[in-house]
Symmetry: C2
Subunit: 321 residues, 2 copies
């Protein structure tokens, strides 16, 4: 029986990963770790033997004990302060809760001295600002991180490589692009737009003005349900030490996303830029190539942007009831 | 009057930096920070108004207060757990005492909101293993760090760039190559060889066997007295956001260094490799180009390898008395 240790267990991606596992209809054991209790009461988990421990991953001693006791064969490392915006406000907390926690996971596995496969989740932000130089990011591209968050993720990736080569750990790496999907917190841009548009729709105002950051930014959004399918495939079939882009391969401007959501909601929306929402440095365009995932793992995204946005809007419609 | 804040104050490089400053015969104010008290009792510091505070740079609150109170115009950030070997033994401590302490310095300066020029000292180890691909490292080369220490230094460098571009901090960066010179601790390779050779010489044994790691490794050694002259020049004339190699431009194998020291000491030495001293991954050859320092700053090294080794041997002769 596969044994998954999942960090960042109480988050959005983890919740979808559990649903994915449940869908496999195979008995597995899962131990979740997070700073906060998960809110998974409503989920029926027939095939999953589920445990949870509240732990700060900066507490390495405790982490070592947990890993020694649970003896996972997979570690899905989802824990992250993954907000670029937050990293500009508190670079130290962002760095520690990305790089330092990951280093603690690696050290705990090294001290356990067992063959655990780790999925190190990285970010498309690592590519950084190559506007005009690159249309699409491939795994072998040079990295030019432009935010504290991006630096933390590149550091994590470099540590992974050293632990693979120097200590023989079994780590598969991703650079995951922007996620969308039902259940995402409104601190993320598409969720934030969706929530506010749904509220406007319900208030019945005919004239809807949405305050935004820079909506000309182009991002590659991948549905969280496609993401978790990729993560499980990488844990089982990825090559150790290799990096894989997890992305849709298509870029949408934030303005286009708003337009599509307005269309689904049958609303007229105008946007206005709030300068407070503009970040010190930001990448103009981030689009990834997912050729390697298709070629080596046989994975490609299945969920269309339209379907993702419909489900996101449906989610906020329900929440706001 | 220039005001220098020096971290890693009780170390080898700092001591030589103070001697350099004293040699300038100009009144300056220096505040030293370190975990341990310096051992500078024997130094006459006629022109330097000197203070010291015992502080752990992981204590950001205290660091902020110190910077706010001292109001330096220069920060020479020498603090580092700079041993590659130690980083393989304790990657977490190595990482925290390189990257995290540096991030705290940056945050303290950002919160002080003043125009302080910072020298971020990096390492040639950042270039990593490009054997067969590169004969000599230039500042624009791709970085392939292969040890935890090297990763920590690359992370520090990436953070510097983000703080320059995103927060407007004034940071000049170095990649400093292997140091040699009198006063270096025996945890560093050349000092270790010198100390043991001097001991053998004094014991009068005709047959001297030196246990070593891999002596075929080639490194670019630069005398610490040339290094500190470069650091002061960069604080005063370096371009913000730019990286500068601090190196001799010449590579010596460790075997050749041992041969030269044996010649100075008029000894016959044979070496034997101790497998315990071989590291998990190591760079075969690290030689830097110092063209940028010459072109932009007008700096070049002045002290020959022979002079450096003579002074190192003289130092150990005195210590061992």
């Amino acid at each position: 029986m596969d044994r998954y240790l999942i960090t960042g267990f109480s988050g959005f991606v983890s919740r979808h990963f559990l649903e994915f596992l449940e869908g496999l209809q195979k008995r597995v054991s899962v131990l979740g770790l997070d700073l906060v209790q998960p809110d998974f009461g409503s989920h029926r988990l027939g095939h999953i033997q589920l445990g949870f421990e509240k732990v700060d991953l900066l507490d390495r001693e405790r982490l070592e004990k947990i890993i020694f006791k649970f003896q996972p064969n997979f570690i899905l490392h989802l824990a992250s302060y993954s907000s670029v915006a937050f990293s500009w406000v508190n670079p130290v907390l962002s760095f520690m809760n990305n790089t330092n926690i990951f280093l603690n996971v690696l050290e705990a596995v090294r001290s356990a001295n067992s063959r655990i496969r780790i999925l190190s989740v990285g970010s498309s932000e690592e590519y950084g600002d190559l506007l005009g130089r690159k249309k699409m990011f491939h795994e072998e591209d040079i990295l030019c991180p432009v935010s504290p968050y991006a630096v933390a993720r590149v550091s994590q990736e470099m540590l992974s490589k050293v632990y693979v080569k120097g200590f023989g750990l079994d780590i598969v790496l991703t650079r995951s692009f922007n996620h969308i999907g039902p259940g995402q917190k409104e601190t993320f841009v598409v969720a934030s737009f969706a929530k506010r548009l749904v509220e406007m729709k319900k208030s019945g105002s005919s004239f809807s003005k949405l305050m935004t950051g820079d909506t000309s930014l182009i991002r590659d959004f991948v549905d969280v349900r496609d993401v978790v399918r990729a993560y499980d495939a990488l844990l089982k079939k990825g090559r150790g030490g290799e990096i894989y882009n997890i992305c849709s391969g298509t870029g949408y401007s934030l303005a286009e996303i708003i337009r599509q959501m307005a269309s689904i909601l049958e609303m007229q929306v105008i946007t206005e830029m709030d300068k407070k929402l503009i970040r010190p440095s930001d990448n103009r365009m981030i689009i990834g190539s997912n050729e390697k995932m298709l070629r080596d793992i046989g994975w490609e995204p299945k969920i269309s942007m339209k379907k993702s946005l419909e489900d996101v809007i449906h989610y906020w419609n329900q929440i706001d009831r």
